[in-house]
Symmetry: C2
């Protein structure tokens, strides 16, 4: 049975989309069957594969507002083991509409359930908020992966975020497991970066991934050519980082 992993954080710009894309792609390279769902109205998943709005007919917007069957919202990106469902939210009115429809917090869970038999992993990219879209993802997920940038605001935001996740999972998904914190954009030249990463491992001990994703310009460049970093430059520190993460995920079973 496939595992549903929500990639979430209320803090913006910590590498949720980058992790969802590159971890999915790395697992697909290791011949795992992966489905990637974009629950963020920004639609960065589609942008990562250079898909423009005219190429996308359906997405999670239609799944939530018109009860479109999920399979009809798949978009082909030409990768053998990776399928994606874009967000396809065109403007703020549609965002509000999807937000409203998502007040049924179990909607995504029901929609994804049948696909657990078909995929080894289902990843959900979340928006930077604690609203109904993220709650849907947390309710549907088997486990949660939280990217953390080793910077003050990102570290400071964790306490409240984890408390909220506990509240949400107690109410809607008591079986939710915590996969771990993933340190992203780590820059060993910056003293503060090292300090914060150390503090994170000290306070959260076992639930921080061993793999640390380094800050690497190939990672931020790769979406501009529509490829995951492993297909853009397999020798880059970013590509190696995400492949290692995929291995660590496969070796760790359900939880660290």
């Amino acid at each position: 049975m496939g595992e549903i992993i929500a990639v979430a954080s209320q803090k913006g710009g910590v590498g949720k989309t980058t992790t969802a894309i590159n971890l999915s792609a790395s697992l697909a390279i290791l011949e795992k069957r992966v489905l990637l769902i974009d629950m963020d109205p920004q639609g960065s998943v589609a942008a990562s594969f250079q898909l423009n709005e005219s190429q996308i007919k359906y997405g999670m917007y239609q799944v939530f507002t018109n009860n479109l069957p999920l399979i009809e919202a798949f978009t082909d990106i030409g990768l053998e083991y990776l399928d994606i469902v874009p967000a396809n939210v065109k403007n703020e009115a549609e965002e509000m509409e999807m937000f409203r429809q998502a007040m049924d917090f179990t909607h995504l869970k029901q929609v994804l359930e049948p696909f657990k038999k078909v995929y080894d992993f289902i990843f959900i990219d979340c928006p930077p908020s604690l609203g109904s879209l993220t709650i849907n993802a947390i309710t549907a997920a088997d486990s949660l992966l939280v990217p953390v940038q080793p910077e003050y605001y990102s570290l400071k935001a964790l306490g409240k975020f984890i408390r909220s996740i506990k509240n949400i999972s107690k109410k809607y998904n008591s079986g939710l497991e915590f996969k771990g914190f993933l340190i992203t954009m780590y820059d060993k030249r910056i003293k503060k970066s090292k300090e914060i990463a150390r503090e994170l491992r000290y306070s959260f001990k076992k639930i921080v991934f061993d793999t640390v994703i380094p800050r690497n310009s190939k990672v931020s460049e790769s979406p501009s050519v529509g490829k995951p970093v492993a297909l853009f430059d397999i020798t880059s520190p970013g590509a190696i980082g995400y492949l290692q993460l995929a291995e660590e995920l496969l070796n760790s079973g359900t939880n660290h």
Copy 2:
């Protein structure tokens, strides 16, 4: 009469809070009277001044959910020309509540109106979304400042964001002016950074601030000591950048 400036972007982590804090502080150093409002449930403004939850009694949460007069939600941070109102949203239930109360999109405008006589500038830090909290800020604002990180996802998100802003301002605030795009975290060592900054200036011509804020570790370190970067290290490229931005804002009148 004071000017209300919303610092907004749907993209997360582009430097909204960093800009709201450091531009406010730089203007206060230039002896302008500034009020800073945190409309982001993450509450990064309070974190920037090392205020913890127990020190904050009231914030924008109470202003929206209990009709608390704004003046009662001020928190003293010991800076002469800068006053702040934190967000003070403690958990996801309160976030949902504030979101619901903010469906009256003119609430913030009514609350801020009397304070335009007292302050030269009122800045509003926005969450990374297009929901009711951001719409309140756009409806209340005289002008909009949009930080942009010179990276693919941030650039790609602009088109849709600007379209949405135009829709929102047509409906709720036809007088909204566009102050400009501010390039943040610019790293001259990264080829892509230069390319994207050039592309931004090419497509948006006059409405990009001349001042570019460089990536500078003093900027990301300063909130961990509870100070704006100008009070942390006035000689740093980040502090100089934000002081130049304050000068540019004062010299430019209402619009570029």
